[in-house]
């Protein structure tokens, strides 16, 4: 089932008559059978978008189509969707079996057939042996699977997942994201999920949509988006450790950071922001980009060099209030949107340092002077004013 979002807009009205645009004129087509990740920092409108697709929130403007059918006026119960909440929202007083059966009962499906279906779906997600347990007796990962089973059992046209991995510990996250990927492949249901964790989004999505302040920044396959960011926001948001930003300029087709020559550009002369991925540095014999290493962190096969540089652009980091396992409800999305408008969710890192990941074999020590060349495909140059790619 192809999902089309057309000029989708959601405006929340705060008490003081202020309007907050949570989602602004979103146009996205999610192809049938794909796994799509909506990615962005907290308050970017991704949960709002998901809840609009589910029907729990009504768009202020714009339309939502499932295939050819306009579902905008259709209430959630008639949309044929499965929704997995961030905290799963499993009914605590029902067993796993009863939880999975619940949507079927509402559809008035014959009990025997329902039981068979519930068992099948529970087996698919790997909790077939836990049918008589209550949610409190399940681990986080099992609860997650139970919630997915409950969403899948009625054979929804669309599966929606809200921050599916945020309540799991690191080890379970890895395991569960593979599991989600497998289940989605096996069922072939068009799936949309929301996350603030770029690694999570990149690892399982067929395609990702990067959102900021309710506006689409970029859509594409994860690696493409990572390799070719459209603008500064996308470049900054994707990648851990984050991309390094430098104050630079283009002079006669040369990209310069201070006095150092970094690479070539065909664009006209201008002040630019140069973004270089930490893995984009190569230690070389001769280069004008010469720096003194401040600290060295060696973790496994990689060595990270931390380097002071006067041209580093101080950048805000993205805070994740949701990381603490907070639960978003439909109402909260409104609350959050209104809240973010008032205070900024960003903190400033004012160290003028950048990170370079190099091979441990170089044996660099703190205090050493090294010369870098920059891999062209790991470097992105953005217009200083607009943040657009040059």
């Amino acid at each position: 089932m192809e999902i089309t979002l057309q000029n989708l807009t959601k405006v929340f009205q705060s008490k003081k008559e202020d309007e907050v645009v949570a989602v602004d004129n979103l146009d996205i087509v999610i192809p049938s059978g794909k796994l799509y990740g909506l990615l962005g920092p907290s308050g970017c409108g991704k949960s709002t978008t998901l809840f609009m697709i589910s029907g729990l929130l009504k768009p202020t403007e714009g339309k939502i189509y499932f295939g050819e059918e306009d579902v905008t006026p259709v209430p959630p119960e008639d949309r044929g969707i499965g929704l997995v909440f961030q905290n799963y929202a499993l009914y605590p007083h029902m067993t796993v079996k009863q939880n999975i059966m619940f949507p079927l009962e509402n559809l008035k499906i014959d009990k025997k057939e329902g039981l068979k279906k519930a068992q099948e779906i529970a087996d698919l997600v790997g909790i077939g042996h836990l049918m008589d347990r209550k949610p409190a007796q399940l681990s986080g990962g099992q609860q997650q699977r139970c919630a997915i089973a409950r969403a899948l059992v009625k054979e929804p046209r669309v599966l929606l997942l809200d921050e599916p991995l945020s309540n799991l510990d690191a080890r379970l996250r890895l395991q569960t994201r593979e599991e989600i990927r497998r289940i989605q492949r096996e069922t072939g249901i068009t799936t949309v999920f929301v996350t603030h964790d770029q690694e999570e989004a990149m690892s399982i999505s067929d395609e990702i949509v990067v959102l900021d302040e309710g506006v689409t920044q970029q859509v594409g396959q994860p690696q493409d988006v990572y390799d070719k960011p459209n603008n500064l926001f996308v470049a900054k948001f994707l990648g851990t450790p984050p991309i390094n930003l430098f104050d630079g300029r283009i002079e006669n087709g040369k990209i310069m950071i201070g006095d150092a020559y970094i690479g070539k550009s065909e664009a006209e002369d201008q002040e630019v922001t140069v973004g270089i991925r930490p893995e984009g540095f190569k230690i070389v014999e001769r280069s004008s980009f010469q720096v003194e290493v401040e600290f060295v962190e060696t973790i496994g096969r990689d060595t990270t060099l931390i380097i002071n540089h006067p041209n580093v652009e101080v950048q805000g980091s993205f805070e994740d209030p949701e990381e603490e396992g907070d639960v978003t409800t439909v109402e909260d999305t409104e609350f959050e949107a209104l809240n973010l408008e008032m205070g900024s969710g960003k903190s400033i890192q004012d160290q003028k340092t950048f990170r370079a990941i190099v091979d441990a074999d170089y044996g660099v020590q703190p205090g050493d002077t090294v010369k870098f060349s920059v891999k062209p495909h790991k470097m992105h140059v953005f217009n200083k004013e607009t943040g657009e790619l040059v």
Binding site: E68, D70, P73, V74, P75
Partner: protein
Amino acid sequence: MQNVENVEELYEDEQKIRFKRRMRLALVYAVVIFFAIFIIIPFYWMVITAFKTETQVFMSPPMLWVNPGEWQWVNFSLALERAPFIRYLANTVLVAILSTAGTIITTILSGFAFARLNFKGRDVLFMILIATMMIPGEIFVVTNFLTITSFGWIEDQTFVEAVLAMTVPFMTSVFFLFFLRQAFKQIPDELYYAAKVDGKTDWQYLWGIMVPVALPTITTITILNAMNTWNAYVWPRLISQREEFQLVSNGLRDAFDDTAGRIMYHEQMAASIIVTVPLIIAFLILKKYIMRGVSRSGIKG
């Protein structure tokens, strides 16, 4: 591709859903209003009867409305003359203040011990106290009457003795103790350690920190306890040996019993209003505290 017909159909669909939602809401309001009327009518009847003349009271069919210009305010002074209501009100206020003050002090002290101090047998003692909440009060009434008698507070009763008999047995409450202990327990230990570091004694900590922090709960207890006294009927009736020692509920019931013939309903209702209105005003002002107290009592179950 959407054709024109389709769009209209969709529009109708949306209208239908909206209509359904409105109908549902209208139904909710209708039912809620119906029950609200059921609750309000006795109050209305009480008020409107209190403003009628005797002739109007005994009319059939009854008068449902009296014009404000014809309201018989005199009924209130008649009601007050029929029995020493001012005295009853004064008695009730005095008894309420004393028993509430006693309850507050004893529960604060014991609540502190249970919440903050470590002593032998604490948990066992607390369990025993909780268990007594299951026992109906009538079990206590019989013996307490004997105890009060043996204190000499019944025979040749003076006013002071009557007040003592009405207050002393109610100067503590297991339920309020339980309630206050919960509030005290929620105060973080760090505050206690900080006070200790500053050289405060337990006594100073209790009255300087714990009581102010738990003030909302103490307020709730005060209100609920005062309400209980205001509505008390059985115990004061049992132990007050003279008519003028009674509380409002007793006075209200006795003054308008129908053994003396026809009941003066307008005066009876006027007296009822005098008894009811102070509590309703208190409720409207202190709604937050009362509701919190009651709903907490529900959660503990």
